[in-house]
Amino acid sequence: MDYNLTKQQIALKKEFEHFFQEEMKKAPPEYWQSGQFETVYISDAGWEFYKYMKGRYAEKGWAALAWPIEYGGAGLTLMEQLLFDEAQSLYGAPRDIYGIRMFGQAVLVFATEEQRKRILPPIVSGEIQYCQGWSEPNAGSDLAALTTTAVRDGNEYVVNGQKTWTSGAHRSDKIFLLARTDPNSSRGEGLSVFNVDLKLPGIEIRPVHFMNGDHVFNEVYFTDVRVPASELIGGEENDGWRQTRATMNFERSLIAFFAGTRRRLDEFIEYVKTTKRDGRYLAENPIIRHKIAQLHVDIEVGRSLAYSTAFAELSGNMLFSAAAASESRVFGGELYQRVANVTTEIMGLYGQVESSRWAPLHGIASDGYQFNIGFNIGGGTSEIQRNIIAWIGLGMPRLKTVKTK
């Protein structure tokens, strides 16, 4: 057993860190107010910076390190990808979750050769931004209950239905859409994945405002939208559930979570070392010291868990253990929330201040208090992740559920 990186990997890691250190100096204040994850959709300036960074990744050949060269990737392993992701999040840099980390991965594994050659290069170059067409008003945790239909008509599919929680649809070019191609099917059996252009007639995007009023989420309505049959991923109907379950796992193995929390904690440590209250630095208060030490423990063991998950992915195939991915996801998501809770608490009265001239650390603590709760809901709630851990990781029996009509 060897936890050490190779010489080449160490050199690459340094190169990544140097790159991010320099590039992130160019980030506008609006970017820092919203941050590297889904909140990047909130401001125009933050979004422009995201697009700039996607372009820079492409120029360096780092946009998709683990993808084969013929599809625009760098042909390296997931370990290099992991090192990149970690450096990226440590410096708070933006990342293309939906194109690179989710849909692109699924296309690599499940799409036809023609689709791979057509769909992947514009994701790598940063030209095309994707959003995710999964959840519906009555299909959240129970995603397989979705009712959006795609009915074959000649060389096209006619799509009708409604998607929700579509992060960034208002800034995206395309959506990877999960729809029911077999109208007589139930649950996961009759679903398919489509690569859909959001400019097609019949698509309407409406905002859903976050609790603080910000615009991240959308509802996307489909009314008789005609999608070319060539956009059915894999070319065969009703294979969508298998593809989607794998895609979920691609999303869940997130080293970025731990690197992101590390960054928050490091900034916060600087804050408590330089902020005085009641005659002493916050860092001198034993209760505050204890709480910070506890977060450090959680972040370091969580990071180790994420590495182990990635190693399992690396040494097996792309369809690695769903339990490990869920463990990493549930631990990382809840850790993000704990960091937000502890930082808002320790900041005292300033913990409530939103981005403004009065806000310490760009208002990141109060933003985190509101946004980080979403990490335990989006991408599968913590309750669903724990079910998966119990079913797959521990072999617990699955409770029978009522079949939907």
Partner: protein, 371 residues
């Protein structure tokens, strides 16, 4: 022992609940939160008509001489409906300071105006360092003839943007912390609203050599901290009542949602994970609620309740946070939206946590008292 409410108290609760749910439904709460004023003058006038604004005051100043428990009932209902208003700053904090420390002249002028809804007040205690302690009050009040000259910055002064007068805590050389009445339209002060999680009227108040007549000192020079400390202990109990009311709403709404929302063909409330969340939330609510009224009765009996006030506030800080966070989780993604009412409570829980002392302050108070 009799833990039941009197019939007039039951009536008060019912009428408060009816009034607030009719005049200030959650959709209206959101509109008020988004407005610059952050309160609704019509609702404020109605609160005056109902006698709420004088509920803590003796009859000779236009009050109804109600018990502290009555005030707690109103606060609990305000918390349940999240009704944004300057009730806490004006009635719970400032009118109590004037009642306890004001001169006869100040009382008859200001308290009557408060009770009739003609005067909104704001307490300017905290400063940029954000300390809750006496040593945190550093603003200087320099005597000059028959005036004091006040200079410095106050932070998180609630409702300063809409108030007529502020009570400002400042330090008189050699005498200590003193409370001053300052007109909000004084030419040498500027007030700006700070954006907060609670979308409330937290303000920054800058005093730039503002002259205040010596007759506008509340209480004796140097008595300010004692007045503040006593008032804040009471106010912490009243804030806890707001939090208990909000907690109750969260448990109810999350429970109803869990029964209604179906996934996998069954209501999500059928899942043991959700049931355990709800059970833990109910336990947290019931413990806060019971303790709240125990402490409120101590206040009415005139007993020393400083330790109990800290115990209660520390408990509510943690429980409201826990309950509102689980309530959002049970609602799932919809719970994180502005559209969904439950998110109002999650934000408000955080704002309430800082009012009249955060968890650190109250745990410190408890430790000091025990050790």
């Amino acid at each position: 022992m009799d833990l039941s409410f009197s019939s007039t108290q039951k009536l008060l609760r019912d009428s408060a609940a009816k009034f607030l749910s009719a005049e200030c439904p959650y959709a209206r709460v959101k509109e008020i939160e988004d407005s610059e004023q952050g309160y609704d003058p019509v609702i404020w006038a109605q609160m005056a008509d109902l006698g709420w604004l004088g509920c803590a005051l003796p009859e000779e100043y236009g009050g109804t001489a109600s018990s502290f428990v009555d005030l707690i009932i109103i606060q609990e209902e305000i918390g349940r409906r999240l009704a944004p208003s300057p009730f806490f700053s004006t009635v719970v904090q400032c009118s109590e300071l004037i009642r306890a420390g004001g001169s006869e002249e100040q009382k008859s002028e200001l308290l009557n105006a408060i009770a009739e809804g003609r005067l909104i007040m704001s307490l300017a205690q905290y400063e940029p360092e954000a300390s809750y302690l006496e040593s945190g009050i550093k603003m200087q009040a320099t005597p000059q003839g028959d005036q004091y000259i006040l200079s410095g910055v106050k932070m998180f002064a609630m409702d300063a943007n809409i108030c007529g007068k502020l009570i400002t805590a400042a330090r008189v050389p050699d005498m200590g912390v003193t409370l001053f009445l300052v007109d909000a339209d004084h030419p040498d002060i500027s007030i700006s609203k700070i954006p907060t999680i609670g979308k409330d009227n937290a303000c920054e108040v800058i005093l730039n050599n503002a002259a205040v007549p010596k007759s506008d000192v509340i209480g004796e020079v140097g008595d300010g901290w004692e007045l503040l400390e006593k008032m804040n202990a009471k106010a912490a109990v009243a804030k806890a009542a707001e939090m208990v009311g909000g907690s109750k709403a969260c448990v109810t709404m999350a429970g109803e949602y869990a029964k209604m929302r179906e996934q996998y063909g069954v209501p999500i409330g059928g899942n043991q994970a959700i049931q355990h969340y709800l059970a833990n939330m109910l336990v947290a609510y019931d413990t806060s609620y019971s303790y709240l009224y125990q402490v409120a009765c101590m206040v009415d009996e005139g007993r020393d309740f400083a330790l109990e006030a800290s115990t209660l506030k520390a408990c509510c800080n943690q429980n409201y946070k826990f309950i509102s966070e689980r309530a959002v989780q049970i609602h799932g993604a919809i719970g994180t939206t502005r559209e969904c009412d439950i998110s109002l409570f999650y934000r408000k829980a955080k704002a309430c946590e800082y009012a009249c002392g955060d968890t650190f302050l109250h745990l410190d108070n408890i430790a000091d008292s025990l050790l």
